[in-house]
């Protein structure tokens, strides 16, 4: 009896092993994709990963480590054990990673799909195409405020942010120099088109820090993208910088009394990079699929980041959940672009280290 049971069990396990074997081979057809987590990665999952898996059967493993993306890619390449296939990264770190040779150069026109009207990718993408970088969305870091915290007028310009007398309450800024220095100069009267010219000199950097000094005592510093909407909702601060997609989510989806201020929006490009040695046909297929005109437009149904292709813009429709018309919430909407600052990725790649050192020293003072 006992013996018979054992035999059956062994047979069963063996059979299961045999069945599992092809499944395992099949599962090896999988991609590990690193992104930022939160609502953003969710939008990618719905717009890219799920249709891609449906189309090809390739499983996608999500890793939410883009916050330390460059450090991760570098240590994996240095250790000779790269496990990430595609990494979502900002343009600045991508430039740096490309220089260091730890991510793959990409021939955009060969790999990516042309626009429906036949324009080549290098014509159709809005930003200039970097050597190793596939743009995906344009997103903005900008100011938002809690409209219930102001009795009179709501703030509308960067100068108002610096005006704590008329617009009381604490401010929340990101604990990095990028953005803060540009806005500090704008608050000090520099035109949005000239901030990088001024910042390029040592005097200009001093001017920016002097301007920041004026509100330093009123600032709560944030480091995670989820913090600013929370700080606004809790009325811990009255004005905060943050990612426009996060603010959109709090304002439209969660119905918080949060309003976005488009003056001085600092927009930059986010996209895909491929770590060294990972530019396989599978990865190429994924990049081609996920950055075609339709997919990029699809992502905007889930989050208010602007698609990086000209040809996607007309296809952006309504928000999937709330039915809100998305185009007024896009950083790429011409109305919102009037006083925008395109983030100078090359400037920050060059000067970022020393400005960060100085910024940290300034913070610690």
């Amino acid at each position: 009896m006992n013996h018979a049971f054992k035999t059956t069990a062994v047979a069963g396990v063996t059979a299961m092993g045999l069945l599992a074997a092809p499944a395992a081979t099949f599962a090896a057809e999988s991609l590990t994709i690193v992104s930022w987590g939160g609502a953003y990665e969710e939008s990618q999952r719905k717009a890219y990963y799920e249709p891609y898996t449906e189309m090809t059967g390739t499983e996608i493993t999500q890793v939410s480590k883009s916050a330390n993306g460059l450090a991760g890619v570098r240590s994996q390449v240095e250790a000779g054990n790269v496990t990430w296939d595609v990494v979502d990264m900002l343009e600045g770190p991508a430039i740096r990673a490309c220089d260091e040779g730890i991510i793959e150069p990409i021939d955009h026109d060969e790999i990516l799909k042309p626009a429906p009207n036949g324009d080549s990718p290098s014509e159709d993408f809005i930003p200039e195409l970097g050597e190793c970088f596939v743009p995906e969305i344009l997103y903005a870091t900008l100011f938002a405020y809690n409209a219930e915290m102001f009795d009179g007028d709501n703030p509308s310009t960067v100068k108002d942010v610096w005006n704590t007398a008329d617009y009381p309450g604490k401010r929340s800024l990101q604990k990095i120099p990028a953005g803060n220095l540009e806005w500090a100069l704008m608050a000090d009267g520099v035109d949005h088109e000239e901030v990088y010219d001024v910042l390029d000199s040592s005097d200009g950097v001093g001017r920016a820090f002097n301007s920041l000094n004026k509100i330093k005592g009123d600032v709560v510093w944030w480091s995670e993208g989820a913090q600013p909407p929370q700080l606004l909702a809790d009325e811990e601060v009255s004005i905060a910088t943050g990612y426009n997609g996060r603010f959109f989510n709090a304002q439209v989806v969660e119905d918080q009394p949060i309003e976005i201020m488009w003056d001085g929006q600092l927009f930059e490009v986010d996209g895909w990079v491929v770590p060294q040695g990972k530019l396989t046909d599978e990865v190429k297929q994924f990049l081609r699929f996920s950055t075609d005109t339709k997919r990029l437009a699809d992502q905007a149904k889930y989050i208010s980041y602007g698609p990086a292709r000209h040809s996607s813009a007309p296809m952006v429709g309504k928000h999937k959940e709330t039915g809100v018309e998305m185009s007024p919430h896009m950083p790429t909407n011409p109305e919102n672009l009037k006083t925008a600052i395109p983030k100078d990725a090359v400037f920050w790649a060059d000067k970022g280290d020393s400005l960060s050192e100085r910024f940290n020293a300034w913070l610690a003072m």
């Binding site: 450090a71 570098r74 040779g101 811990e236 090359v346 000067k351 280290d353 020293a361």
Partner: protein, 424 residues
């Protein structure tokens, strides 16, 4: 009988075993088996410590002064720069070699490794290198010196070359200098960095004094709790012990976040203070995202590390000591201070060492609720590991921290004696 005789000292004064072999040899042989067994038993742990602890630390210390990027990517240039006297601009030969190797590096796509390395000491070097490397493709023949100065006039700046010469040598103190707010100036002398760039000395001091403060706070808060634990009836003290250990079973993030709920300006504590009229509603004190937040959060999280050793020491102090002191005429305060407290010194010592060493390297709490003024040195090590990717500087900061802790431990050992430690 014969055995007895042979065990007595022989003529040569060597103690011998029954078989006439020297006693020492016999002893050694009989112990060898036991020793081998003991060694085999600890071997897995030894290997684990070697690979997870000793080697990474050795690698960190090596990284803090060994930085061979330029030598690796531009080997011939590095060698020529080493021989060059460093006066004015280098000769054409160096320009030519540099141009050749830079173009080669551009092809190998590792210019970034070098340019990033130089960018740390010379902001802007990144685009200087990569721009030059790209344009060198158009330069087919020498002389390279004017061609490179044509590409970017920085190549005609002697300072750029003296920096390159200095950074080309793989062993450098530059990271240690950065880690204490010093740098090499153009003449290669050590000088303080500009005052608006100084940060690390301040951070080391802040880390030290805040760790001392947190240690003192845990002593002040932990002592009464440990005393209760050691002296209450078992049932009550068991319950109290669970309350002490409860934080250990809760996620660090949850504990830290609950301090945000309590301490933030619209938080529970502030609401209470405003309700009782201690502060006006417009003038709520900032108790989080600054030093106060770090100190409160870390004191809370590290408290068990003080309580447990204190408790185990106090548990071993019989109540008769206090009674003896009372009967000898000491009032309760004198008896406590002169008789009880001195006997808890081993516990205070052990707890302090634990809390101090933990807090000196603490990272997560200051990162979450320390704001900018409550950041500790470990937050900057993490910053350089993950954000700026200046791993050499992170290694130098980490090494300094390691040496400081070892130094403090050495002093502690001299003063109190590590054998007096009682970790429970």
């Amino acid at each position: 009988m014969a055995q007895h005789e042979s065990a007595t000292p022989a003529a040569d004064d060597v103690m011998r075993a029954a078989d006439g072999k020297p006693l020492k040899d016999s002893l050694r042989r009989s112990m060898r088996r036991a020793k081998t067994k003991a060694l085999l038993l600890v071997a897995p742990l030894g290997l684990f410590i070697l690979f997870s602890f000793a080697l990474p630390i050795a690698d960190m210390v090596k990284r803090s002064f060994y930085s061979p990027e330029i030598q690796n990517v531009l080997p011939e240039t590095a060698e020529l720069l080493g021989d060059w006297d460093g006066d004015g601009l280098p000769p054409e030969q160096i320009y030519a070699t540099f141009a050749k190797e830079l173009a080669q590096a551009d092809e190998n796509r590792n210019v970034g490794v070098v340019s990033q390395r130089v960018n740390y000491v010379m902001p802007g070097a990144r685009s200087l290198f990569s721009g030059t490397a790209r344009k060198l493709g158009n330069v087919d023949s020498g002389p390279y010196k004017p061609a490179m100065i044509e590409i970017d006039e920085d190549w005609g700046d002697p300072e750029v070359w003296s920096i390159l010469k200095r950074e080309a040598y793989p062993i450098t103190m530059a990271y240690y200098l950065s880690a204490v707010d010093l740098r090499y100036n153009a003449a290669g002398e050590i000088e303080a960095v500009a005052s608006y760039m100084q940060i690390y000395q301040k951070l080391f001091w802040r880390t030290l004094w805040m760790s001392v403060l947190i240690t003192v706070m845990t002593i002040l808060l932990g002592f009464p709790v440990s005393y209760l634990l050691a002296n209450l009836p078992v049932r009550t003290s068991n319950l109290l012990m669970i309350l002490v250990l409860l934080p250990f079973w809760t996620s660090l993030l949850v504990r830290t976040s609950s301090w945000i709920v309590i301490l933030q300006s619209e938080g529970v504590l502030n609401d209470v203070l405003v309700t009782f009229g201690i502060f006006s509603n417009d003038n709520r004190p900032q108790m989080i995202y600054n030093k106060i937040g770090t100190i409160v959060g870390m004191t809370h999280i590290l408290l068990p590390f003080m309580i447990l050793p204190l408790y185990s020491v106090m548990k071993g102090i019989p109540p008769s000591y206090l009674r003896a002191a009372r009967s000898l005429g000491a009032n309760p305060v004198v008896a406590f201070v002169r008789v009880y407290v001195p006997q808890t010194i081993p516990g205070i010592g052990a707890g302090s060492i634990l809390v101090f060493i933990l807090s000196i390297g603490y990272y997560i709490t200051p990162a979450l609720i320390g704001g900018s003024s409550g950041q500790l040195i470990s937050n900057f090590i993490a910053y350089h590991m993950q954000q700026s990717l200046n791993w050499h500087l992170a290694a130098a900061l980490g090494s300094i921290l390691l040496f400081v802790v070892l130094g403090l431990y050495y002093i502690y050992n001299k003063l109190v004696g590590a054998d007096a430690l009682k970790l429970g």
